[in-house]
């Protein structure tokens, strides 16, 4: 494997783990949002079961995207980003290392936490595997597509709001496919079509997003 790729992945991982608030905050946000819904809407089990996929997915989407604002910002501000661009390595590969580190520290914990949230919201047992599957396919897309927005807004003050504005429209399909799929299974139907479309979206963002991020970073730095 590429030496710089591993070095960068390891450094980012170490930094995120050392700065606990960075990876705990999105999870805390997710848990708080999901647990406020039963309080606000009333604890009727049928109502909660019906809205569970949407609530969990919206909370996961917000938690993921809101944490992305920091993805390139510290590198941009302290000059590390310039150092990444100097080398002969491809910037897209290095960007991919950063995105991977972000997903491992936000997406993966969200997936791990999702069954617990599903229990809280009384989601039917048979929909659990589909929920987890949709998150496995969907959270990398949140990081990858959100990364493009983060790269574009890295040089702007208050880029966070703009990032959300740029990225949410691109993430709407994922939200729709995921919640429809989980709801379908909860209602006793199949979700393979939805999961297939999510998989396609994942493949598309995996192949295109690192290049788009790298190009956006080059624009931001000049």
């Amino acid at each position: 494997m590429n030496n710089s790729f591993i070095a960068l992945l390891r450094r980012d991982f170490l930094m995120i783990l050392r700065n606990k608030s960075e990876w705990l905050q999105p999870l805390f946000f997710l848990v708080v949002v999901v647990s406020l819904f039963p309080l606000g809407l009333g604890p009727g089990p049928t109502l909660l079961a019906r809205i569970a996929p949407g609530v969990i997915w919206i909370a996961a989407l917000l938690a993921s995207v809101l944490s992305l604002d920091q993805l390139f910002r510290s590198d941009y501000e302290d000059g590390s980003l310039e150092q990444l661009m100097l080398g002969n390595q491809s910037l897209s590969l290095l960007v991919f290392a950063k995105l991977l580190a972000h997903w491992l520290t936000t997406g993966l914990p969200i997936i791990a936490l999702s069954p617990l949230l599903a229990v809280w919201l009384n989601l039917p047992m048979e929909a659990f595997p589909t929920l987890v599957k949709s998150l496995i396919l969907g959270t990398p897309v949140l990081t990858l597509v959100g990364g493009i927005g983060a790269a574009l807004t890295v040089g702007l003050r208050g880029g966070g709001q703009l990032l959300a504005l740029l990225v949410f429209p691109l993430l709407v399909p994922i939200l729709i496919f995921a919640t429809m799929g989980v709801s379908a299974v909860a209602g006793g139907m199949e979700a393979s079509a939805h999961m297939g479309l999510m998989f396609a979206y994942l493949i598309m963002s995996l192949t295109l997003a690192p290049f788009a991020c790298a190009a956006a970073l080059r624009i931001s730095i000049s």
Binding site: N3, A7, L8, L14, D78, G79, S80, E82
Partner: protein
């Protein structure tokens, strides 16, 4: 061989500095001088490939580029050793190795396990300059390498540049108050801010 031919950069439809030309061969050091805000940093960032020149031709050597700019690229939450360990691995093809000799060389070994956050400006500069030791054959681009350093640090940079010359490698040094030592093969390039009057 580093060749700059009438390089300039336009911002808001106006050149930042008057077009500059220079040629640098093996073992030579290009000393870039000029007043504050005349575009020295912009020029060195163009050479580093971080900015694209809007006119002129540039030919840069095939070796890697090592750049120490105003933003030093140090992570506050990581220790000095972790910071430099990253760059050691990042900029070379070898795996992890002991970087103690480099830390010792820059006289920052006692700080090795302190987070970069707690360092003084001069100590941070030494850390950033330690990166050069990982890339001895690269084209060194140093933007104000002497800033913030104590007398000891200044002569350390001079020594690094001398060794770099002895290896036959090139360096571009931006500095406006302290000159690089005379025994280097120095070429000077004065950058002048663009003015409309001409």
């Amino acid at each position: 061989m580093l060749i700059l031919n009438n390089i300039t950069l336009e911002r808001y439809y106006e050149p930042v500095f008057e077009p500059v030309s220079a040629q640098l061969g093996a073992g030579e050091t290009l000393m870039v001088t000029g007043t504050n805000g005349c575009g020295k940093t912009t020029l060195i960032r163009i050479i580093a490939g971080l900015l694209d020149a809007s006119s002129g031709k540039m030919q840069i050597p095939e070796q890697a580029v090592a750049y120490v700019g105003h933003y030093l690229g140090l992570k506050d939450t990581l220790t000095v050793r972790e910071n430099l360990q990253f760059y050691a691995r990042f900029s070379t093809t070898e795996g992890d190795r002991d970087i103690t000799p480099e830390l010792e060389r820059m006289q920052i070994l006692p700080l090795a396990d302190q987070p970069a956050r707690s360092l003084s400006a001069g100590q941070r500069k030494r850390c950033a300059l330690a990166r050069l030791l990982f890339q001895p054959d690269a084209l060194w681009l140093l933007d104000e390498p002497y800033a913030n350093l104590d007398a000891d640090g200044l002569s350390l940079v001079d020594r690094l540049l001398r060794e770099h010359k002895a290896r036959g490698s090139m360096a571009v040094v931006v500095s406006h108050n302290r000159l690089v030592p005379d025994d280097l093969d120095i070429k000077t390039l004065e950058v002048r801010a663009w003015s409309d009057e001409q």
